[in-house]
């Protein structure tokens, strides 16, 4: 049984307008996403900004109330679980945020920040917690003396280590990593990526790894899902996806990666235009619509549920992009 199963998840936000701030439209940030994640597995999630990656992550940790669909964690449906029922579940599902400067309370010491999860879950005595904080700091490569310092006293990479320590404090099973290295310097990124890999091996963690750096995602993931305008358009094992992309959007994304090798300069098939707004998205295949593909109209009447084209390789079966 997989650890996490997401089925046809939808997260819509009302767009309010007019004098009475009535809901005039809905922003379909996540619009029918299905996937599953096994224990110890990493699923990478890529796409341009505004495609719904972060919203999907937040919906899974239930920082949002999904509009429709279901999220099952270890067989238990948590889609609409109340705060009370969620609290024990939260031990197992944690999140690491993009900007550690904004996700750590500046007025709390590192000790306060790392003790908080234990206090919320009512675990351990004061003495035990002190020991656990020291263990956590050691695990993420920070000195024990860091406990009494404040977040601003650390560099970006060190702060992200604190964010990671907080996420692993309760020995979770799943961590949603939302752009965990995007805000870090290049020379520090690989340290943090190594730490995440190491923790995954030691603790058997599953990651939902959200990032826009396609090379980073490839390195971290077992499987990768490509999102476009609230939907997954392709999902495949990492190596397979990068070697044999099927959907036109995946191809365009891969083509745009700047490769750090001047001998591999290429003429690219450049994507024109910007990501369309998820408010009133076009019917059918949204990417075919952006490309003004002649066969786009056919996709409007079709069932665009992902189809398996080779073992483990799923793609949206629209005539315009595949």
């Amino acid at each position: 049984m997989s650890l996490l199963t997401v089925q046809n998840l939808q997260q819509h936000f009302p767009v309010r307008g007019g004098l009475l701030r009535r809901s005039v439209a809905s922003c379909k940030a996540v619009d029918g996403v299905s996937f599953s994640l096994g224990a110890g597995e990493t699923l990478g999630l890529v796409g341009e900004s505004g495609c719904g990656k972060t919203t999907l992550g937040k919906a899974i940790v239930r920082l949002l109330n999904p509009t429709a669909g279901s999220i099952q964690f270890e067989g238990q449906d948590i889609t609409h679980a109340s705060m009370g029922t969620l609290r024990p579940m939260r031990r197992h599902i944690q999140m690491i945020f993009q900007d550690p400067a904004e996700s750590l309370n500046p007025r709390h010491t590192v000790r306060d920040i790392l003790e908080e999860p234990f206090i919320v879950q009512k675990i351990g005595t004061k003495e035990e917690r002190k020991q656990w904080v020291a263990d956590l700091l050691d695990k993420v490569g920070l000195s024990a003396a860091s406990a009494d310092r404040f977040p601003f006293e650390f560099s970006g990479g060190q702060r992200q280590r604190i964010g990671i320590a907080r996420a692993i404090a309760l020995k979770p099973k799943l961590i949603v990593c939302d752009e965990p290295v995007s805000a870090l310097d290049v020379s520090v990124q690989s340290q943090v990526l190594n730490l995440l890999l190491e923790l995954q091996r030691d603790m058997g963690l599953s990651y939902l790894f959200i990032a826009h750096g396609l090379n980073v995602v490839k390195h971290m993931s077992d499987r990768v899902a490509v999102m476009y305008l609230g939907k997954i358009v392709e999902l495949a094992p990492a190596t397979e996806l990068y070697q044999n992309p099927r959907h036109a959007y995946t191809k365009a994304l891969l083509d745009a990666i700047p490769i750090a090798d001047p001998t591999q300069r290429r003429t690219r098939q450049l994507l024109r235009g910007d990501v369309p707004s998820p408010i009133n998205p076009p019917p059918g295949c949204a990417f075919g619509h952006r490309m003004k593909h002649p066969k786009w109209e056919e996709s409007v009447k079709m069932d665009l549920t992902l189809k398996e084209v080779s073992p483990g390789h799923f793609v949206q079966p629209c005539p315009c992009c595949t």
Binding site: Q189, A256, P258, I259, P262, T263
Partner: protein
């Protein structure tokens, strides 16, 4: 001026900021040439001084705290470092232009795109409003903004990130500068839009024959578009060479570490990456000697920590800050 002389020659540039904690030297004696018609990349991490270098060249350092303390910036026979402010204002925006990282903060939110473009034109040339309009539309077309006539009357917030960056490029290029300085022009953008913008800059460069300084932290971007590259670390250039040479034969331990630490598309997933240990030093911790010593994992003697390594040409047009420990 012959086509072989560099368009810009920076020599021993020192730029410092006066702060409450004393004088902080952000750029500490750097030298480089920007070849005519080529793209020169400056790559480095946050706080290494790459943006301060750009602001020194355009003399846009925050006043009165930021100042150029030494060195020269020779551009077409003039030293920009010591040019009186009035003359500098004529150079800036006409001969040397700059585009910034975040177009939303660099554009004026309460003025239409058309008005901002007009300002850039009218500062340097006297022409009729009809002419201004025609030139603006022409430039908007060049940066591939659809429906330019309509866009001129819109405000920056009505445009997407990619479109805003195009407007910035249009503003920077409207007076056909000889040198364009692009400071992280694509960092705030998605990879797909980044590819569009980089291609646009390259096309316009070819068409207008200008030289470009491209500042970025992304070695991938450098590899894709630059002819020559300078690698900056802690206020200094540690290595400088042609792009092919630098990526094929990096000599300084920092450059090597940086290149090895990026996850590559052909690497085996979920394997340990090579990493540079430690953190990027803050400006207050800059040492007089080799500044990469603490992170290099190699033993440095007191002499190496206290005396600045010389910047030498170790092979043709390949320069390196020659710390005997970091350049083995």
């Amino acid at each position: 001026m012959s086509s072989t002389t560099p368009i810009l020659e920076v020599r021993d540039l020192v730029t410092a900021f006066d702060t409450d904690a004393g004088r902080m030297t952000a750029v500490d004696g750097i030298r480089f040439d920007v070849p005519r018609g080529k793209t020169f990349g400056i790559v480095g991490e946050s706080g290494c001084g790459k943006s301060v270098t750009a602001f020194s060249i355009t003399r846009l350092l925050p006043q009165p705290h930021g100042q150029i303390l030494g060195g020269s910036i020779h551009f077409e026979g003039r030293d920009l470092a010591s040019l009186p402010i009035k003359e500098m204002q004529q150079v800036r925006g006409r001969d040397v232009s700059m585009i910034f990282q975040e177009p939303m903060t660099a554009l004026n939110p309460v003025q239409t795109v058309g008005r901002q473009l007009a300002e850039a034109i009218l500062l340097h040339t006297q022409c009729s409003l009809a002419e201004v309009q025609a030139r603006s539309i022409d430039m908007m077309k060049k940066v591939r903004i659809p429906a330019p006539e309509q866009r001129l009357n819109e405000y920056p917030h009505q445009l997407s990130g990619g479109m805003r960056q195009r407007v910035m490029i249009a503003m920077a290029l409207i007076n056909k500068p000889k040198l364009l300085i692009a400071d992280e022009p694509t960092t705030a953008l998605d990879v797909t839009v980044q590819a569009q913008i980089l291609e646009l800059i390259a096309d316009l460069q070819k068409e207008m024959g200008m030289s470009v300084i491209l500042i970025t932290h992304d070695l991938g971007v450098i590899a894709q578009v630059c002819d020559e590259v300078a690698v900056m670390y802690a206020g200094r250039i540690v290595e400088r060479a042609e792009a092919h040479e630098l990526f094929a034969k990096p000599r300084h331990a920092y450059t090597q570490g940086l290149l090895e630490s990026i996850p590559r598309l052909d690497s085996t997933p979920k394997t340990k990456l090579k990493a540079i240990q430690g953190n990027v030093p803050g400006i207050a911790d800059f040492k007089p000697g080799c500044r990469f010593a603490g992170r290099s994992g190699r033993e440095h003697s007191t002499a190496h920590l206290n005396t600045r390594p010389p910047f030498v040409e170790i092979s043709t047009n390949h320069w390196v800050e020659n710390c005997p420990i970091c350049v083995a």
